[in-house]
Symmetry: C2
Subunit: 144 residues, 2 copies
Amino acid sequence: MNLSLTQIKTQFQELGIKSTLPRVVIYQSLAKSMHHPSAEEIHLAIQKKYPGVSLATVYKTLDMLVQKSLASKVVTNEDKVRYDSKMDNHIHLYCEKTQKIMDYEDQELADMLTGYFSKKGIPNFKINKIQVNINGESKTTKNK
Amino acid sequence: MNLSLTQIKTQFQELGIKSTLPRVVIYQSLAKSMHHPSAEEIHLAIQKKYPGVSLATVYKTLDMLVQKSLASKVVTNEDKVRYDSKMDNHIHLYCEKTQKIMDYEDQELADMLTGYFSKKGIPNFKINKIQVNINGESKTTKNK
DNA sequence: TTCCTATTTAAGAATTATTATTATTTAAAA
DNA sequence: TTTTAAATAATAATAATTCTTAAATAGGAA
Ligand SMILES: [Mn+2]
Ligand SMILES: [Mn+2]
Ligand SMILES: [Zn+2]
Ligand SMILES: [Zn+2]
């Protein structure tokens, strides 16, 4: 999602988030990315246009965004956390070859799962979020 | 699952895994645990009965067990990997309060998902494993 | 507009989980 | 038994993340 700096500033104000250039730029970079980037990758991505933003600030900003529900953490088998600004419910496809994470939207499946659990429930457990992850291999035309 | 040392030795032999005391003890401890323990926790758990096993060996053994499909990694929001020796397909319930991970077996759901995707498939993606994680709160009788 | 102050930031140190290195030990094959 | 490739303990190294602190600054008040 491509968001302008002013769009983001407005969004921050609405949520009572103090609007600083590092924060706005970090969020913009995350929102633009389709790759579920890590903190390090975001840090790198903003270097060209906005050098001098520290990695610690990237981490702290990402945490803040997660707290404010503007982003979520995506954990994988790799030893680093990745982030996602797409906040509607969706599935993640993990390519075991390329480590790429792709979003997969499937309303039918979402409804099926919600329906299934709202009917059946889970004893002694209050469900907050159902996350489906699919591991496998993406088959691009020019692969192998 | 409670496995005897000799049971495990036999299992290792069948899979061509060199049978050492550290390995057998680590696997036994993991198999007995219901808690999806981390390497550190396994290391601690075996201290009493088998002191002197190094943490590095715990890590290497767990990796080996994952390679041999006797265990799998369980990733969470915490900054450490946890392990699971339950290898049939099952759901994980994450309690956001206690960080506990509970297993939840639901054949009906498993069949539903398998059926859904085998019919529909995912374009340009070969599905290897569908993992469902549910975040929420466990409501024990004596909570709060 | 200028001032004030709580919040944020940069820089770098510290922490923590995990992996790598290497000398020594050992399981198990011959 | 002897042999030897593989495993282990010890410890150093690495990498992701968090912490600390002094300097900068956003945004409200004056
Ligand atoms: Mn790490
Ligand atoms: Mn870490
Ligand atoms: Zn996503
Ligand atoms: Zn499990």
